[in-house]
């Protein structure tokens, strides 16, 4: 509706007259006290909580501007951000005090001189505390996971994955803030860290379904390498590279919904028997999918997998449900539905590692859901956090 000038004036006059009549019969309310003067300051970070989440937002529509959100799951609010450049690979230190981000910047925004850099962010202040300039080889993959950049379990070394497309890792001495060296990985990818006694090792997935394990010394030099027998079939049922770390290695799920464990607790890698998350009837009809489709809570030995109904080629589709399976009995404990219409499918998940765990779920619409990881109850929902949440971390 549009009102002409005179008509609008008429309406205002009528309203004014009405107010005057009211004032004649009612005593005016006393004016509320004025608001206190405000003083601009910078928020201090609260004390660390195991329910904090580090959420990588790739900002896919303007990818040179990725960032990491720091989010408080108990209070359902963002605490702040780190900048993460272009295709940042992110890892949180085992003592949860530092976030390491291997990323790329250009001197003129999206062009100019390229600099790959490993940045160290202080999690207690959300401020940059240092950096190491890398060679321009850093792996750039949309398949973000815990092993694209990883700390050794003791926090002493960082492993930066490179892809040019020749694959290698750069080993970084964290305390010295120094690159110790680069090791060719024979076209195998990821950096799954472990310690055998005092030997630091890093393992990776190869195209023939084998695991390559490289042992290195304190100077970052390779001392030995070994290749396992094939433990998965790339052609019949490949495993996702996006996996979840365990205290002894990692759980990977396959396109068809089987669980493959890599156990690095002994001198040689072990591969316990593969077990399914799907029944024979469900196989091929229900599948894992999304970006970070598997989460794990060790003390309750629960595995969470984002599942959807779909066929071949749907392995990046978000989950309409989260399936909860006991990793010891291999029995399914629950199927929790995600409100796909409202939030999109479950795209990334991570469980906090405490005794009252939360399950964070980032969705295809970049919503962030906070669930009770024991009951599946939705505790809080951010309808939109950032642009494209592609990785969730919780050390």
């Amino acid at each position: 509706m549009r009102l002409s000038g005179p008509s609008l004036l008429g309406v205002l006059l009528i309203a004014f007259a009405g107010n005057s009549a009211l004032a004649a019969t009612t005593a005016p309310e006393p004016a509320p006290p004025p608001l206190a003067a405000e003083h601009l300051k910078v928020e201090a970070m609260p004390a660390w909580s195991p329910h904090w989440l580090y959420a990588f937002d790739d900002s896919f529509n303007n990818e040179t501007d990725a960032r990491v959100w720091v989010y408080d799951g108990d209070h359902g609010r963002a605490l702040g951000q780190f900048e993460a450049g272009y295709y940042g690979n992110v890892a949180v230190s085992p003592d949860h005090k530092t976030t390491a981000i291997a990323t790329t910047y250009w001197s003129r925004g999206g062009h100019g001189t390229r600099t790959d850099v490993l940045e160290f962010e202080d999690n207690t202040k959300l401020s940059l505390q240092g950096e190491i300039v890398l060679t321009s080889k850093k792996a750039q993959s949309g398949a973000m996971g815990p092993f694209n950049l990883s700390y050794s379990p003791d926090g002493r070394f960082l492993y930066v994955t490179n892809l040019t497309p020749a694959a290698s890792i750069s080993i970084v001495d964290v305390a010295a803030r120094k690159i110790l060296g680069e090791i060719d990985t024979d076209a195998c990818v990821l950096a799954i860290p472990s310690i055998d006694g005092t030997r630091h090792r890093v393992s990776m997935l190869c195209e023939n379904g084998r695991l390559l394990t490289i042992v290195h010394d304190d100077a970052g030099k390779e001392t030995s390498r070994s290749v396992s027998k094939p433990f998965f079939d790339v052609d019949k049922d490949p495993i996702f590279v996006q996996s979840v770390a365990t205290p002894t290695g990692a759980y990977h799920v396959s396109f068809m919904g089987d669980v493959y464990e890599i156990d690095l607790s002994a001198a040689d890698p072990r591969f316990p028997a593969v077990w399914p998350t799907v029944s024979a009837k469900e196989r091929g009809h229900w599948r894992p999918g999304g970006q970070q489709m598997v989460a794990y809570h060790p003390s309750s030995h629960r595995l969470y997998v984002a599942m959807h109904a779909g066929g071949e080629g749907t392995h990046k589709l978000g989950g309409s449900q989260v399936w909860v399976t006991d990793t010891i009995t291999h029995k399914r404990l629950a199927r929790w539905s995600i409100d796909e219409k409202k939030y999109g499918g479950a795209f990334c998940m991570i469980a906090t590692q405490d005794e009252h765990p939360l399950l964070f779920v980032a969705t295809e619409k970049s919503s962030l859901l906070v669930l009770d990881a024991t009951t599946g109850k939705l505790l809080h929902a951010e309808d939109k956090l950032g642009q494209t949440l592609w990785q969730l971390l919780n050390p």
Binding site: F60, W106, A143, A166, L205, P238, G313
Partner: protein, 183 residues
């Protein structure tokens, strides 16, 4: 045949990646791509090349009646995009097989096969990225027929295929017909 071809390119590229330096790998991989385009065993039917505004010629295979969006290069349903994960260059100033002005094609890529429901043929397509500017941000398309994880790099669409460009900034993706896949 198409699976054998995929595996051939895959084995060749992976073997090269293992055995050669970056520069050596790129040169050799480029040769593999060039060679594949010229393979005499793969009859290339230029007449059935489907571009924006250029309807595909009916073939002698098993014609189907695709939904309209399967013939629209600006739609993710377009048949050539069966394994693209990114922004469609056809929405960004290019076409389904050309990069937008001012960008640079990726010299390395991966190869797959897509079925054209209009002429009933399977086509070998090269998925290339167009590089040198930040994300186009238009027409996000995620399809993954035959796509494999990163350890099988030559069948993976997660990695940034601009990685070997002077400026590896990813802008958008194209799907370039290389020829008809043999039966």
């Amino acid at each position: 045949m198409q699976q054998r071809f995929d595996r051939l390119v895959e084995r060749a590229s992976r073997g090269l990646a293992r055995r050669t330096s970056r520069r050596g790998f790129l040169g050799a991989f480029g040769m593999v791509l060039t060679g594949s385009a010229l393979m005499p065993l793969l009859p290339i039917s230029r007449g059935s090349r489907a571009e924006a505004g250029e309807p595909a010629a009916p073939g002698t295979g098993k014609p189907m009646s695709p939904k309209a969006s399967a013939s629209d290069p600006n739609s993710c349903d377009y048949w050539k995009y069966c394994a693209i994960d990114g922004f469609l260059c056809s929405c960004c100033g290019g076409t389904s097989s050309t990069c937008p002005p001012g960008t640079t094609p990726s010299p390395i890529t991966w190869i797959g096969t897509c079925h054209n429901p209009v002429d009933g043929r399977d086509y070998i397509v090269s998925y290339n990225d167009c590089c040198g500017k930040t994300s186009c941000g238009q027409c996000t398309c995620v399809r993954n027929e035959g796509e494999k994880p990163m350890y099988r790099l030559s069948l993976n669409n997660d990695v940034n295929w601009c990685m070997a460009n002077d400026n590896p900034n990813y802008h958008c993706s194209v799907s370039v017909i290389m020829g008809v896949a043999g039966k």
